[in-house]
């Protein structure tokens, strides 16, 4: 979600070991080890040790019953953090994996993201940012347990070893559960030794996810499933056009409908509060609301794209300038230009947005699937008129997130808190699918015009990219950090600003469009569109040079070993160059995003103008990895997410109104359209990278390039429509 360069910049500030572990005596006398990063120093005494359990630090609780609970500060939205982060801790703790459980962390500064400074989940960063954090927490707990055992046996700690949830001295054994009481009385060590990676027992193994059982018997609790005594349900009428507000409304019919308790205007629209969802929904649909006309009443995406095309003809804010692309273009032996266009996209999580709020006179509790806990809690407190510490936010399972549940305005939490103020009872706001799709915060539409030239020998000599689109960072908590001193949003150009190909003259420019459509990060963010344009255009240059697209890339990536690694692996596993049945073709793409490298080879056929993806071979290099099973699942999911956008998805506006409402007008790839997907992981010891998003960007260009291989036609606009191919 956030550009990864920040990670290296911030991390280079260095986490000093002596600052890393600080010990605080909690109010109840238990011990907490806090993790201090980047000025975050407040430590709450939220949970502590008790007679039956011991919390050596904020991330783990050990029970006298031998059960070990890992407190996870990232949200589980499918990407596997309730398994991968506990693996890190459990390995250092030498715990018995069968005793490991997970628990979502409460909102507290000690659970802030070590890089981004707030409690949140995004940027494919949970594992690599938590790597040290969770390993340190496990190692610190282990040291305390060893010290407790050593004391009981009256031996030196160095004479003890740990294995599978117990401390040993020779043949003597004390289980971790047996040591809970003694360990709680000890002072945590100032320093802990982490394992040599060769001694890992869990890290690197394809362990099964810990959260599967509850997700296959109906017991996993998502935000929409939360039930409170006396709770009412609300459905909200929101403006059909962004920027409009309620002028007046007639609720005569709605008010008299069964179950309806209250109908109130709130800043987001008109809320119908009823006993059940269905009653609220039916009454909401019976409302007659008159809206103040905003500035978007004449907004059309077709005119917007026309405007983008015009703007791309002029120079934009300079993002990158190597050499002189203009002159090199002018003197190139052959040149080509192409304009790529991608539409607004909806995150379309399977679980529509929802939020439960229980607002009392001097406290407030919120239950929701949040990716942005610190921000959501602060916004709920602001609306409730309470100090932040009076608001608790409980993170449930997320039925998909993809960035939507990290809303910079906390839109779904703010409006639910407004409804709760009016309801006088615990309230659950549920968005219908249509509400969710029409509610904004989309991946922005982008236009990306590229001109390139080759010399007489077919070497690429010039590349000029111009992008036009909205900024997603404006108005977010990250705006100051991200946009400082820049005339463009780095999230708009990520993935082309670091064009890796050995081309001597490269210019990248960006025009920022000011449009009243709320936009936001969506899985793989800028990379979701830059990879499409860049990797399709590289293919076009290869064709211009009459070279094989894989070999053409190889030649330009000679000094980029990790790009080459995934490119070669994907090509080799896909059998690049081997004949395919008639009517089928292959396309290739390679990209770096979220600290990981990926390459895809897609095999497609085209029948009666319909593209069918048969196979996708994916290579991924995410450096040192934690769980290859989860990596494969995320890569499969990323490829399918990218393929859905490439093949089907587009949001369009006509006279300010969004034309799409549900899965029938904004389709998702289905079982009968799903290709065979293979994932191949590059083995190395490089620094860990992300996995939730890197699988997305290559899907669209690999598919589009494969369509060219079959049809000889170029796809320059998503979703793919062969009638528009050139």
């Amino acid at each position: 979600m956030i550009r990864q360069k920040m990670v290296s910049e911030n991390a280079s500030g260095g986490i000093q070991r002596r600052d890393f572990l600080k010990v605080t005596v909690a109010a109840s006398g238990g011990l907490l080890i806090g993790f201090h990063f980047f000025g975050v120093s407040q430590l709450a005494s939220a949970q502590a040790s008790s007679a039956s359990s011991f919390m050596p630090n904020a991330f783990v609780r050990i029970g006298t019953d031998e059960n070990i609970t890992v407190i996870v500060n990232h949200s589980e939205m499918g990407q596997g953090v309730y398994t991968s982060l506990p693996m890190l801790l459990a390995d250092e703790l030498d715990a018995d994996w069968s005793k490991i459980g997970y628990e979502p962390a409460p909102v507290d500064p000690k659970y802030n993201h070590p890089v981004f400074g707030v409690q949140m989940t995004g940027g494919s960063s949970s594992v690599y940012s938590g790597l040290q954090q969770f390993r340190q927490a496990g190692a610190a707990a282990r040291a305390l347990l060893i010290a407790a055992a050593a004391q009981q046996w009256n031996v030196d700690a160095s004479a003890c070893r740990t294995e599978s949830g117990a401390v040993f001295n020779g043949t003597r054994r004390l289980s971790y559960g047996q040591l809970v009481g003694a360990a709680a009385k000890l002072t945590p060590p100032a320093n802990v030794q982490l394992k040599d990676p060769k001694d890992f027992k869990l890290i690197g193994k394809p362990l099964k996810r810990l959260d599967t059982s509850v997700k296959i018997n109906g017991s996993a609790e998502f935000g929409i499933d939360v039930k409170l005594p006396g709770m009412l349900t609300a459905v909200i009428a929101r403006p059909p056009i962004f920027g409009e507000s309620v002028k007046n409304f007639d609720d005569t019919r709605a008010r008299s409908m069964p179950g309806v308790r209250k109908i109130v205007a709130i800043p987001a629209g008109v809320a119908v509060i009823a006993d059940t969802f269905w009653q609220a929904k039916v009454a909401r649909d019976a409302l007659r609301v008159e809206w103040d006309e905003g500035k978007m009443a004449n907004f059309n995406t077709s005119t917007m794209m026309q405007d983008f095309r015009e703007r791309a003809k002029t120079a934009g804010a300079s993002v990158r300038k190597d050499g002189d692309a203009e002159s090199a273009l002018a003197s190139a032996a052959r040149k080509i230009d192409a304009v790529y266009e991608v539409p607004y996209l909806s995150h379309l999580m399977m679980e529509p947005l929802n939020c439960v709020v229980d607002l009392r006179a001097d406290s407030c509790e919120v239950w929701t699937g949040s990716q942005f806990q610190t921000v959501d809690r602060a916004n709920a407190a602001r609306i409730a008129g309470l100090p932040t510490e009076k608001v608790q936010l409980h993170t449930t399972f997320l039925g998909g997130g993809f960035g939507r549940r990290a809303n910079p305005q906390s839109d779904f939490v703010v409006e639910a808190t407004h409804v709760a103020k009016a309801a006088g009872a615990p309230i659950k706001v549920i968005w219908t699918r249509e509400d969710d799709m029409q509610g904004g915060w989309y991946r922005p539409a982008f236009l990306h015009a590229i001109e390139g030239g080759i010399d007489a020998s077919g070497n690429a000599v010039s590349w000029r990219s111009r992008l036009v689109g909205q900024s997603i960072m404006e108005g977010t908590p990250f705006a100051a950090m991200m946009l400082k001193g820049k005339q463009y949003d780095p999230a708009s150009v990520e993935g082309v600003d670091d064009l890796p190909y050995a081309i001597p003259n490269v210019t990248v420019e960006c025009h920022q469009a000011e449009i009243g459509v709320p936009v936001q990060w969506l899985r793989s963010v800028g990379h979701s569109h830059t990879a499409f344009a860049v990797e399709c255009f590289v293919d076009e240059l290869a064709a211009l040079a009459q070279k094989d697209p894989y070999q053409f890339r190889r030649q330009l990536l000679q000094k980029q070993p990790r790009y080459l690694g995934v490119l070669d692996l994907a090509a080799q596993k896909a059998g690049w160059g081997k004949p395919l049945p008639k009517g089928m073709g292959r396309g290739i793409a390679v990209h770096f995003a979220f600290e990981s490298y990926s390459a895809h080879v897609a095999e497609v056929s085209v029948t009666d103008g319909k593209v069918r993806v048969h196979r996708m071979v994916c290579a991924i290099d995410c450096g040192q990895y934690v769980n290859p099973g989860i990596i494969a699942a995320q890569t499969e999911g990323g490829a399918i997410f990218g393929a859905s956008a490439a093949l089907f998805q587009e949001l369009t506006f006509a006279n300010g109104r969004l034309q799409q409402t549900n899965f029938n007008t904004f389709p998702v790839l289905r079982m009968n359209e799903c290709p065979v997907i293979e994932t191949h992981i590059v083995e190395n010891k490089e620094k860990a990278g992300g996995i939730g998003e890197p699988g997305v960007p290559c899907a669209a260009p690999a598919i589009a390039n494969a369509v060219f291989a079959v049809t000889g036609k170029r796809i320059r606009r998503l979703p793919i429509r062969l009638t528009e191919a050139v």
Binding site: T212, F222, D225, W278, M349, F397, T432, I640, N672
Partner: protein
């Protein structure tokens, strides 16, 4: 008053007969394993069985359930012992998990009707169930695995 059985238990409810079965199951009966995804039989997240037949409960009025036997995900097995649940565990199928109740309920009908389903059978039975996380390849494998378990006599 509308009466039917849910997971083997008789219920009698005072409810507007046009209310979708989904919301009666979720809100009146408190069985929240059955999910809302689209409200128009597009995504399959709300799939339950009525007399053994897979039904999109978001568009089925509760009146349709009157006098029938309804099974929800909570009734698929009491202890994760259904061959599909065992196969789902083996293949590590779910990601976010939200669509999985519906996937399992659709797959359960398929497996009963076609104990050795082909890929085409799986396509036909499962195409009405959307998964945004992209677990389709694992669902396919898990269905084949469950079929193999049943063939070996592993079924309950």
């Amino acid at each position: 008053m509308i009466g039917f059985s849910v997971n083997g238990k008789r219920v009698d409810l005072e409810v507007d007969p046009s209310t979708p079965l989904l919301w009666v199951i979720r809100e009146q009966l408190g069985l929240t394993g059955t999910k809302y995804g689209c409200g128009m039989a597009q995504c399959g997240a709300c799939t339950v069985h009525i007399n053994g037949e897979a039904v999109r409960s978001c568009v089925a009025p509760v009146s349709r359930a009157a006098g029938t036997s309804v099974t929800t995900i909570e009734g698929l097995s009491p202890d994760l012992s259904h061959p599909l649940q065992r196969a789902w565990l083996e293949e590590d199928v779910p990601q976010c998990g939200y669509c999985q109740s519906g996937q399992l309920m659709s797959a359960a009908v398929l497996l009963r009707e076609k104990p050795a389903p082909s890929d085409e059978d799986i396509d036909e039975a499962m195409t009405g169930n959307i998964c945004r996380c992209g677990t389709y390849p694992r669902i396919r494998k898990a269905i084949h695995r469950a079929a193999a378990m049943v063939a070996k006599g592993g079924a309950r």
